[in-house]
Amino acid sequence: MHMADALISPAVGGAMWAVSGGLIAYSAKKVREEADDRKVPLMGVLGAFIFAAQMINFSIPATGSSGHLGGGMILSILLGPYAGFLTLASVLTIQALFFADGGLLALGCNMLNMGFFTCFIAYPLIHRRIAGNSTDGKRIMTAALLAGVAGLQLGAFAVVIETLASGISELPFRTFVLLMQPIHLAIGLVEGTVTAGIATLVMNARPEILATAGQEAPAGVSVKKTLLTFGAAAALAAGALSWFASADPDGLEWSMLKTSGKEELESGGRLHGLLDSVQKRTAFLPDYNFRKAETAEPGAGQAWPAVDKGTSAAGLIGGLLTLLLAWIAGLALRRGGVKSLSRYNRP
């Protein structure tokens, strides 16, 4: 569920960057306070482990599809929430840089969606409370399953909110939620199962690894502190969003109206009809916010002010020409002609 640059607006990307940046700074401070030098290489190697484990695909029973490890939970279990979050954030950063997974602007969103909810909500509030230092297999499994599901549900919901707030996608809120949440229920169960399996294996083979991890963060994270942090983060995000929105009139507010208004337009496609009826039958989240806003926006067509044939044609011709010019500039800049890749890949 990597969020992508192409789907978010700068306001949303920037706000999420601010929130995640704050979380990184806070976690870094906490890790520094722990002053456990051993964690420097341990975090690095465990991050590489998550990265490597994510490359291994396995089949999910009864579905035929394949899954992979998210890793936030197991990192929290091994390192505690702060170092766990930093490690997962670093994995996401490397993925964004190397493999363009998600992208640089969406990185803040991804850290929040995949890191914050698992490391700071699901792990301390659910997993630690249920599993504690227990060695009972059932308890460990229950804890991991519940925490896995909760973490992924929250993360998936955040993806929906971020996408809608950006206004690039046309998916209405309810449809998107109905698409995302059930898929991530399955993914969360798988994540929980795998986490429990790995934790049990480590506990049997090398109990001291988990024991030391547990001692370092005896109480985990307090509920109050977490809620306060989250509240502050949300306030910050809201502030940033409104600032951006007011600075850019055709930005956020307009987009939100736009997105929500779409379902009222003539819906012809069969898929849309299907989604629409699914929505109507299973609507569980009130959308009065969006409806109310819609009345202020009489026709979506007006948001595109100039449906002008002249402009359209000029745009198309000019656009193609620009591409051509860029291409020629590229060829001119390149000195040695087209390069073959093999040259770069000496061992």
Binding site: D5, A6, L7, P10, I24, A28, A35, D37, R38, V40, P41, L42, M43, G44, V45, G47, A48, A52, M55, I56, F58, S59, P61, G67, T87, V91, F98, F99, D101, I168, S169, E170, L171, T175, V194, I198, V202, K262, E263, H272, A300, G301, W304, V307, A314, G315, L316, I317, G318, L320, L321, T322, L323, A326, A329, K339, S340, L341, N345, R346
Partner: protein, 270 residues
């Protein structure tokens, strides 16, 4: 298994590319990182039906690829390959937004198709610029730039260590899955139980490795702080690079050059 080969290939290739020696490679990482971030923010700041206005931005990735002597095909292929998520979300736009907003002769193009096109173009632009940045700079130099910008050390050091041990751990994981594939004749895909076993043992080995690395660090006087010798500096070239591209992006953002160009051209034809 293919993903392993491909990913390891990518790790190696990006590093090899970053070891190049063009003026663009030698430019301080901070300048390149800053301009690329500026680029991404500017590109995504356009409203959602923008298509033609995005075109001039192609110049930046094309410049990086050409002046940096990067293999264009490789970067493009990677850019097209990643994130099915963007497409899977964007693909609904044509279904849901059917208002005709653009006429080309007899054809009417709906807003949904236009915004989908816009999403894909944004995607290609941001991804190719980010990939070109890494291929020109290397993750290590980017981490050092972050360190100089005051990103908390536990995080920037973590990035350096992660990058260092990626290929080591990926190699281990690759060998373990290959060993499984060679013995698991009937099942092509790995079950969840096997995955837990492989990942669990990979994890145990990772923890042991971390302990050995820690000892090696202690043996050479590690005291909890990672020090790096300074390699980089900001000079006139960096300032010029940032200012010039900043000005260009502002120009591209504030005027729709392709439309102006198109008007000019149609007028000449008429």
């Amino acid at each position: 298994m293919n993903s392993f080969a491909a990913n390891s290939f990518d790790l190696g290739t990006m590093d090899a590319l970053a070891a190049g020696n063009t003026p663009l490679h030698r430019l301080d990482a901070r300048a390149k990182l800053l301009v690329t971030l500026l680029f991404i923010v500017t590109v995504v700041s356009f409203e959602k039906y923008s298509v033609s206005a995005l075109m001039p931005f192609v110049l930046y990735p094309v410049f990086l690829i050409a002046a940096g002597d990067l293999p264009a095909g490789y970067i493009l292929k990677k850019a097209l390959w990643v994130s099915p998520f963007a497409l899977s979300v964007g693909i609904f736009n044509p279904l849901l937004d059917r208002q005709i907003v653009l006429h080309l002769g007899e054809f009417g193009i709906s807003g949904g198709w236009l915004s989908l096109t816009s999403i894909l173009i944004r995607f290609a632009l941001t991804v190719s610029a980010a990939l070109a940045l890494v291929a020109l700079t290397g993750v290590n130099a980017i981490c050092e730039a972050l360190m100089k910008w005051g990103v908390p050390r536990p995080f920037s050091v973590q990035l350096l260590f992660l990058n260092r041990f990626l290929s080591v751990l990926a190699g281990e994981a690759g060998r373990m899955t290959r060993a499984r594939a060679l013995r698991g004749f009937r099942k092509r895909k790995m079950g969840i139980g096997t995955f837990v076993q492989i990942a669990g043992h990979l994890l145990l080995r990772a923890v042991d490795r971390a302990e050995r690395v820690y000892r090696a660090m202690l043996c050479r006087g590690f005291d909890g702080r990672i020090r790096l010798a300074g390699h980089s500096h900001i000079g006139g070239r960096e300032v010029f690079f940032v200012t010039a591209w900043g000005a260009l992006f502002a120009l591209f953002r504030l005027t729709n050059l392709p439309v102006e160009l198109g008007y000019l051209l149609t007028r000449i034809i008429e």
